[in-house]
């Protein structure tokens, strides 16, 4: 059976990773992977995916960030219950951290297959750039801020940042995780406590964020991978970005530790949030397709596929029980943190997409409005947290 799979993985590293999934599916089952890639981020892809589902002509499987995005589709009975697959394959035991699976679970039923873990608390540093500036490669955020003037001096943009809204927000989230005590972080990002968001702990985060925006002046690129490319070529000193950035480094043939470094938690707190990608399977009334869907679901979490996929994608596997020794330096760091339990839930799970969009907007406004003060942005932020549901 042909199974159409939609996703928005179209950058170099991503496409290579998808190819692993497709090859495995074509090789290990009697079915065929029909690729439905749509470029241009989830904003473009999502209406298409949802239209297809509510229009009664769903694809076989689709990527969605798991978390609250799919809640309503599940409630409307549009997504396939794959609890039987999960049980048969013992997902409850192997998925690590376990909250990944709970994000797929509604009322005790499993509706999605998580495929990877993405964490966003990373800063990527170009060795080349720091060499030009004549400073050592920083070991944490503060050192990096201190090296800023030297980098400027050397004609290097200290911090690369793409213009898309979610990237600014991502940087903010990374700073928050790195700089906040865990309790404060949880108070805001899990319990939505606006008073903490308005408090002094958060003031420090916004101040750091203010530093970041000053360091990023002169970074005129749009896409995240363009920003990553600036780090790869040494045009920029660093980029705060998710772990998928290392896919780009890999495609460019760079070696972690030699050409570039990565600091999880910005070098302060070795914790990662555990968002990630998952595949959902829309309900069809075609039994063949349903069988194929379930086979795909099972395959996605199989150890071989997990290894192959995540190596290409630069993300962490969702199973703790597989051998990732082939992974590079940075990925190893991530696995260590995971294994040591330094795990936070991801924003995708805590906030609705609506709230995230609002925060995205706020951060972007702040980032691009030099007149906006730290106090102002913090106040607006607290307001959004207060109204989040």
């Amino acid at each position: 059976t042909e199974l159409e799979v939609t996703h928005w993985w179209t950058s170099g590293g991503e496409a290579a990773a998808v190819a692993e999934l497709a090859n495995a599916f074509n090789a290990n089952t009697d079915h065929e992977w029909v690729d439905g890639a749509i470029a241009g981020s989830s904003g473009v892809a999502r209406p298409i995916i949802i239209s297809r589902i509510i229009g009664g002509e769903p694809m076989g499987a689709t990527q969605l960030n798991h978390g609250r995005q799919a809640e309503e589709l599940i409630e409307a009975g549009l997504l396939l219950d794959i609890t039987d697959v999960a049980e048969a394959n013992g997902w409850m035991d192997v998925v690590n951290p376990s909250n990944l699976l709970s994000a797929c679970t509604v009322d005790g039923r499993v509706y999605c297959a998580p495929v990877n873990i993405h964490s966003t608390q990373w800063i990527w540093l170009s060795h080349d750039a720091f060499e030009k500036a004549g400073t050592a490669v920083p070991a944490n955020w503060d050192e990096f801020v201190a090296a800023g003037p030297a980098l400027r001096e050397a004609g290097v943009v200290p911090l690369a940042m793409g213009q898309q809204q979610w990237q600014t927000n991502l940087a903010f989230g990374a700073l928050a995780v790195a700089l906040l005590p865990e309790a404060s972080w949880r108070a805001v990002n899990v319990d939505k406590d606006a008073s903490v968001a308005a408090g002094p702990d958060y003031t420090r985060v916004f101040e750091a964020f203010d530093d970041a925006r000053k360091l990023a002046v002169g970074s005129n690129v749009n896409d995240w991978n363009m920003a990553t490319n600036m780090v790869i070529t040494g045009e920029a000193g660093a980029q705060i970005h998710g772990d998928w950035a290392q896919g780009e480094f890999a495609v460019a043939g760079q070696v972690a530790g030699e050409d570039y470094s990565c600091l999880p938690g910005l070098g302060f707190r070795e914790v990662l949030d555990t968002g990630g990608d998952a595949f959902y399977f829309p309900v069809t009334d075609d039994e063949d397709i349903e069988a194929a869907q379930k086979e795909l679901a099972a395959l996605l979490l199989s150890p071989e596929v997990q290894v192959a996929f995540n190596l290409k994608k630069g993300s962490l596997p969702v199973r703790g029980d597989i051998d990732m020794s082939a992974a590079n330096d940075c990925m190893q760091k991530g696995i260590e943190i995971l294994n040591s339990g330094g795990v936070l839930p991801s924003a995708d799970m805590a906030f609705t997409q609506d709230t995230i969009t609002q925060i995205d907007e706020l951060m972007t406004t702040f980032w691009n409005t030099p007149d906006m003060t730290v106090a102002e942005v913090q106040e607006s932020y607290a307001k959004i947290i207060a109204s989040a549901d």
Partner: protein, 299 residues
Amino acid sequence: MADPVQFTGPHGPKPKTPFSRRNIMLYGTLIVVSLYYLVPLYVMIVTSLKGMPEIRMGNIFAPPMEITFEPWVKAWSQACTGLNCDGLSRGFWNSVQITIPSVLASIIIASVNGYALANWRFKGANVFFGILIFGAFIPYQVMIYPIVIMLREMGLYTKLGGLVIVHSIFGMPILTLLFRNYFASLPEELFKAARVDGARFWGIYFRIMLPMSMPIFVVAVILQVTGIWNDFLFGVIYAKPDSYPMTVQLNNIVNSVQGVKEYNVNMAATLLTGAVPLFIYFVSGKLFVRGVAAGAVKG
């Protein structure tokens, strides 16, 4: 000729220089403005013929030092989207298959509407027309879900027929306006004569009105080919991956950055995608102006 006459003082045509101030101003302005219009095309073409190293050197206006058709080949048949590495070629036939019936259907419907509005003036016609014009202003995005639901109910969702309907619906306001104005400008007596001759609604439409409407049909064809060929939103939402139009591929090529942006491939892809409407423009420019004159001027 008769014997030459001797004139004193000015006679014959007033002497002119080809470089009168007026001509310099006139042609100067036209040429400068033309540059503004041509520069992007020039940049697209030049860039699409350069290799990536040359592009990185930075001058987008410099002509290629070494002409390469590699980007064109890549854009047409090799560029990747996700796993599919067959470039635009995949979408080309889809686009053709979508465009032809959509253009035909939307024009037929709109011309019949325009004809009914201009010549038959049934009750409430103006109200419908007013709503149609209002419809021209509705942002497409708003209509996505209602139309998905409608097409689902009709069983046409993700079918070519559904896409044709969608294009017809969204082409209707402006086309109807043009056709209505055009038909209203034809002599009403022709219509009366045909009625006396016993022709009815369709008879008059096909036998009398259609043969006289070449110019406005040219305009409609151009507008619709351009619009439908270039459409991305409806193509991606109301079709399936195996029937996605070329613009979806274009969007994928342009937006899926693999490493560095391959500007030359992007430009080649852009030119390839625009080729069909551009071709139609170049061959029918004159008719277009004439048709626009017929459809737009008469209020």
